[in-house]
């Protein structure tokens, strides 16, 4: 990164290139830190007041400082960038700085395995660079396979040949200031020369502007995992086997790290200890030692002791890794909504296998609209599954897509009331046409003027918002401790809303929907008892009296009515129930005695008159429990 004095120059109201370049680096390092990639990173500053690099000799390679050697980025680096990197007052040759970087890469990658070496230069190109050894530099870059990226405060247009007239571009782009200086123009030519020498076709694509880069880097990196290959044999019967290799292609990715608990005071994990104790389910919660416990399982209501050893011995075992065809079936019989599990595996031919027949086996039978039903087992330790292998034909490859299907035990076959056969809910033609135009107005896939389909909302290109927010908050807390968590990033918020075009277009159809479909929220209220039911009249009676929502007399009437019903059944069971009703009646009558409500009970006499002798007997037998209350009504009043 160029920290020389010209990097602090900016037009009024514009952020100086230095600040922008710093932001680019910060964002980049943040992403690396949270993605926990094993990429290593070094930071070389040029234009520094001091000089600190191994090539510093005989006044060469001056004002270039290696701030950090090649290692994995961490928060320390982020803090240093935040606090220790300031604009300085010297200028240094950016080509010299490039050489220092190349030297650093060479020294510090010794003995390390790496995929790629890359140097990123952030500069305004405002120093005169000597073109002396340009060819040697290019040769070395090529030899070591080092790629280059430039980040500049201004854009570079491709059609410009060799540093044309600065005025032609005009000061339209922020960061351009009054146009480019001569040094900048020269440097630009050199830069282009280098980039095109490294990659004739697309070399210039690796030159970016600061502002552009900041936008691109605002997202945290998506979680990337190296796909693990799973070599196996696809078998059909006992004698046909085909070599295959599987890769997990789609799976619900989780954050790699879990939260750990720490002591709130010291923030130390070691200060906490979690302990699990076991206790009997008795009143004293008697603790028992872990060693005094054994393993068991529930079999319905039974609890079966079942030791690990026995379990290992008796458990289902199988031959391990397997991808065996059980048969082929019509694709239409395998329903998309019955896919289970949380992954899709792509099955290919092994790379090194020339004579691979999976192509005929995977490809082309899709013409039959058939899928293979297979037994799949990842390895000996994992449970076998049943699943479907769909042939997938793409322009540049063919493969099988494997998805797990449910077992009998997994299915919940719920039935739901029919919607079409129910007149109450059948939408009218007006309603249907309102939905029709709503759908038309909200189509996310459209044809553009070239007749190509454009999808304006691709979920599979959106980074998981939960991860983005998680890292945003973690980052905030790490660099600004003690401050509340920040609001969600505006770009993320916007990404989770309806595209603006759609929002606008659907306004009128939505208004129509509002008119044609009356929707009323049902008020949730507790079920209120309003009458004495037949199941437990005594309880209902008590509740109603307590609620006082109905006149006492009315409730008594209802109870009496129930008693009448019960007695009409002429059955001992019903008599008993009647007696509990009378009991409730008495108890409540006593409580509200001031109202002197005793009249209804006398109606009972009439039942006794109509010859319910058994009931009478029961009543009399029960008198002790029935009339041990502080009794205001004498037993005599019941007598005929």
């Amino acid at each position: 990164m160029d920290v020389g004095f010209s990097m602090s120059n900016s037009a009024p109201g514009e952020e100086p290139p230095f600040e922008l370049a710093k932001k680019v680096i910060q964002k980049f390092v943040q992403r690396q830190v949270f993605a926990e990639t094993k990429d290593e990173l070094a930071l070389v500053l040029f234009g520094t007041d001091s000089t600190k690099n191994p090539l510093d000799q005989d006044g060469q390679y001056q004002n270039i400082t290696i701030h950090r050697h090649l290692m994995m980025p961490d928060f320390e680096l982020l803090e240093e960038i935040q606090n220790q990197i300031h604009p300085e007052s010297q200028q240094a040759d950016w080509l010299d700085a490039l050489v220092v970087c190349m030297d650093l890469l060479q020294r510090e990658t010794k003995g390390k395995k790496y995929d790629r070496l890359n140097i990123v230069l952030l500069t305004d190109l405002n120093t005169g660079a000597s073109a002396d050894h340009l060819d040697v530099i290019i040769e070395n870059l090529k030899k070591d396979g080092i790629t280059l990226q430039f980040f500049l405060p201004f854009p570079v247009e491709e059609d410009e040949e060799g540093g044309g007239d600065a005025d032609r571009r005009g000061p339209s782009h922020p960061g351009m200031g009054k146009g480019l200086s001569r040094e900048q123009k020269n440097s630009m030519d050199m830069m282009k020369h280098i980039m095109l020498s490294l990659d004739e076709e697309d070399g210039l694509d690796q030159i970016y502007t600061f502002t552009n880069a900041i936008e691109q880097l605002c997202m945290f990196k998506r979680i990337e995992r190296r796909p693990m290959s799973w070599p196996c044999q696809l078998t059909i019967g006992s004698s046909l086997s085909i070599r295959i290799v599987g890769y997990k292609a789609v799976t619900e990715e989780k954050l790699k790290k879990l939260w750990i608990s720490v002591d709130a005071q010291t923030n130390k994990r070691e200060d906490l200890k979690r302990e699990t104790v076991y206790c009997l389910d008795d009143d004293n919660e008697t603790e028992v030692q872990k060693d005094d416990t054994i393993q068991g399982f529930r079999y319905g209501s039974d609890i079966v002791p079942f030791s690990k050893v026995d379990q290992e011995q008796m458990k289902y075992t199988h031959d391990g890794k397997c991808f065996a065809v059980l048969g082929f079936t019509k694709q239409s019989l395998v329903h998309r909504h019955q896919f289970i599990g949380n992954q899709v595996i792509k099955i290919f031919a092994p790379k090194d296998d020339e004579e691979w027949p999976c192509r005929p086996s995977s490809g082309r039978w899709h013409e039959l609209k058939m899928v293979a039903i297979v037994r799949y087992a990842y390895d000996r330790r994992s449970n076998p599954q049943v699943g479907a292998a769909f042939p997938c034909i793409k322009q540049d490859y063919e493969c099988l897509l494997y998805v797990q299907l449910p077992f009998t035990e997994d299915l919940r076959q719920f039935t739901f009331p029919s919607l079409e056969n129910n007149k109450k809910f059948t939408p009218s033609d007006t309603q249907l046409s309102a939905v029709d135009s709503l759908i038309d107005s909200m189509m996310l896939v459209e044809e553009n003027e070239n007749g190509e389909q454009v999808d304006m909302f691709k979920v599979h290109q959106l980074p998981n918002p939960a991860f983005q927010r998680h890292f945003q908050c973690l980052h905030h807390r790490a660099v600004s401790p003690g401050t509340p968590l920040p609001p969600m990033e505006p770009w993320l918020k916007a990404a989770l809303e309806r595209p603006e075009v759609i929002s606008e277009r659907c306004q009128a159809p939505l208004e129509e929907m509002r008119k044609t479909f009356p929707l009323t929220e049902v008020e949730k209220k507790k079920k209120v008892k309003t009458s004495v039911g037949s199941v437990d009249p005594a309880r209902d009676f008590r509740i109603l009296i307590k609620q006082k929502s109905r006149p006492f007399g009315e409730v008594c009437q209802q109870l009496t009515h129930r008693i009448e019903q019960l007695l009409s059944n002429k059955n001992t069971q019903y008599y008993m129930k009647s007696i509990t009703c009378i009991q409730a009646f008495r108890e409540q009558s006593i409580e509200v005695k001031k109202k002197k409500n005793t009249l209804t009970i006398f109606h009972l006499r009439k039942y006794i008159m109509i010859g319910l002798e058994v009931f009478w007997d029961l009543l009399v037998q029960g008198t002790i429990s029935l009339f041990t209350w502080d009794c205001r009504i004498s037993l005599k009043s019941f007598l005929p």
Binding site: V250, T293, I294, G296, R298, G300, H337, G341, N383, C392
Partner: protein, 609 residues
């Protein structure tokens, strides 16, 4: 419990985890579901069908058994009872009802109950039933009352109560109108307490006339249509099973949400999981002396002071870039919060835009909730019809619970389907398919391979056609789960050996070979070069399971200096898990986990101090 679970899962984290956690099946538990089988034990039930077809009683017992075993596996907390009516003998809690025989009280089904029901099947079973219960007078009213008592005697909270009457007699009381009336009264009592009464009526000569009596007994169908009563009586075991299965499982929403089409247009929908992976249950700990289950209590205390810590005295942390970042516990929750729970309509896309391989979790089913927002069903129904007609799906943002981050789902319309017996096989509604984010899609380089010739392709097509079969999603039982329960059953009942389970997902190799005949060789001749053996090459590459592997292992030891250097450079993560494990051993660090991060944390903690 955590470590016991871990015991069953893959131990080596270097290899990719095969099975992740399941998101579909978590319900909020509000109470127990209960189901009473009320079975007619009259002589008519025991009459065998033509050609040795099982009697109605036999079929019923078969169904009861299958419900018992499926409850044990998938919902052992549900309560089930088996009650006979029209018996000669009586047996019920207070013995207050004649001709009602409670065979199994309302309880969780267990091994013994399954055996009991087995004992009632076949000729022997019929004999046993005759000996113990006999057939006698019928009073459905008493039987229903007895069942009502079973429900009310339960001290647990019951969330769903269902009663199924199995009979082949449409007029159980003959001319006794008093008994009819009693039964009606009792049935309405039961219904009032929230018991749903279903009729599983079976074939009898002359047909079963529901309108004679039972129409007043059973609960009206949910949709207030006449569909329920138009059902023909069952004469096949499979049909009966299907009917019982359809009713037996309580539909329970995972959550109730608003589907928001635009400001103020909220349709209430319920979300249902229709396919949930059943796993082997986790083990429970028992006290060695008594075999009674023990409860585990986990507490967190301070290492130095030994005092128990309140939740407020604990914070949460993660380490990134060698820095520990600390948050309050409620901050951890708020990070996950994006919006209130609900479905937000983003727009529509043509069906072909839904990619087959965009699968990350089992789908859920959506059905309107008229009870929450009146008018929901009509709008939902209109949306369903139009989406089908236009062949589009609705793309929605879905926040399924409080503090759940958003996911996007494709709402795919599904038309109702019924089978020949008018039993619903596919319900009407939307299937919500969860879509992957960029993070969920891995870059896989597709290897190049030669194009197959038309001859080769045709040969494969022949093979495919030979092995055609009709796939049914309920055709395959899980051999692992089944074996586990057979084992438990054997132990619970002191059987000599567990019953055999058939592994239904094993390829029927002999049949396949036979069907293919010479096709295999013909295909091989067309495709493989002479002498090519597809099984030979990878064998050499494959890791050998036996002892030989040990020799090949690279040197695992790393010196302390090297480790420290790695730590300083932040490159500790570059070491492989076996090396890290070895290093932990070297320093005598006991690690509970096998996850790479845990090993790293442990080493960093040790070397850093």
């Amino acid at each position: 419990m955590a470590e016991w679970n871990a015991y069953y899962h893959n131990e080596d984290e270097e290899e990719e985890q095969e099975e992740g956690e399941q998101s579909g099946g978590d319900y909020k538990v509000t109470g127990r579901d209960s189901l009473v089988f009320l079975v007619d034990a009259s002589k008519e039930m025991f009459i065998k069908g033509e050609d040795g077809q099982p009697s109605n009683f036999d079929m019923t017992m078969e169904v009861v058994r299958s419900v018992y075993t499926s409850k044990i596996i998938s919902s052992h907390r549900d309560l089930v009872a088996l009650v006979f009516y029209g018996t000669e003998q009586s047996k019920n809690p207070r013995n207050s009802f004649k001709h009602v025989y409670v065979y199994h009280d309302l309880d969780e089904p267990g091994a013994k109950r399954v055996r009991d029901v087995d004992g009632l099947q076949g000729d022997k079973g019929a004999q046993l039933a005759a000996d113990t219960m006999g057939s006698g007078e019928t009073s459905l009213g008493d039987a229903l009352w007895c069942c009502a008592n079973l429900y009310s005697d339960i001290k647990l909270r019951l969330s769903h109560k269902r009663l199924m009457i199995f009979t082949c007699r449409d007029d159980p009381h003959g001319d006794d109108s008093t008994k009819d009336r009693q039964a009606r009264t009792k049935a309405s009592d039961l219904k009032e307490t929230g018991v749903v009464i279903d009729l599983m009526h079976m074939m009898k000569p002359g047909g079963f006339d529901v309108s004679l009596f039972f129409c007043d007994i059973v609960s009206p169908p949910e949709d207030e249509s006449e569909l329920g009563l138009q059902l023909e009586p069952c004469d096949k075991l499979d049909d009966l099973k299907k009917r019982v299965r359809a009713k037996e499982q309580k539909k329970r929403t995972m959550s109730r949400l608003n589907l928001c089409l635009g400001k103020g247009i909220n349709v209430a929908v319920g979300m249902y999981a229709t396919a949930v992976m059943t796993r082997k249950p986790s083990a429970i700990r028992l006290y060695r002396e008594t075999n009674e289950p023990v409860r585990s209590k986990t507490r967190t205390f301070h290492t130095q002071t030994g005092s128990l810590l309140l939740p407020s005295e604990i914070k949460k942390a993660q380490v990134y870039g060698k820095k520990q970042i600390v948050m309050e516990r409620d901050e951890v929750d708020t990070i996950k919060r994006f919006d209130d729970p609900g479905l937000l309509l983003m727009g529509f896309k043509p069906m072909e835009k839904l990619k087959l391989h965009h699968h990350i979790r089992p789908a859920v089913f959506l059905y309107p909730e008229e009870d929450e927002v009146k008018g929901s069903t009509c709008l939902f129904s209109a949306l369903l019809m139009k989406c089908r007609e236009k062949n589009v799906f609705a793309l929605c943002r879905c926040i399924s619970r409080r503090n759940y981050p958003p996911r996007f789902v494709a709402l795919v319309p599904q038309k109702e389907e019924v089978d020949h017996g008018k039993v619903q096989i596919t319900p009407p509604g939307f299937n919500a398919i969860f879509l992957p984010y960029a993070d969920d899609i891995r870059t896989v380089d597709a290897p190049q391979c030669p194009v197959a010739s038309q001859m080769q392709v045709n040969k494969m097509k022949e093979i495919v056609s030979k092995l055609r079969f009709k796939y049914r999603s309920d055709a395959f039982e899980n051999p692992v789960v089944q074996q586990h329960y057979r084992n438990l059953e054997a132990l619970a009942l002191d059987m000599m050996a567990p019953e055999d389970t058939e592994d239904l997902i094993m390829p029927k190799v002999e049949q396949i070979d036979q069907r293919l005949g010479p096709l295999v060789q013909e295909f091989k001749d067309l495709v493989y070069p002479n002498g090519y053996n597809p099984e030979s090459k990878p064998a050499a590459k494959r890791k050998t399971d036996t002892g030989g592997g040990a020799e090949k292992k690279p040197k695992m030891e790393v010196s302390e200096d090297e480790l420290k250097a790695h730590m300083q450079n932040g490159t500790l993560g570059k070491l492989t898990v076996p090396i890290l494990k070895e290093a932990c051993k070297q320093f005598g660090i006991r690690t509970t986990g096998t996850k790479k991060q845990e090993l790293l944390d442990a080493l960093t903690a040790r070397l850093g101090s």
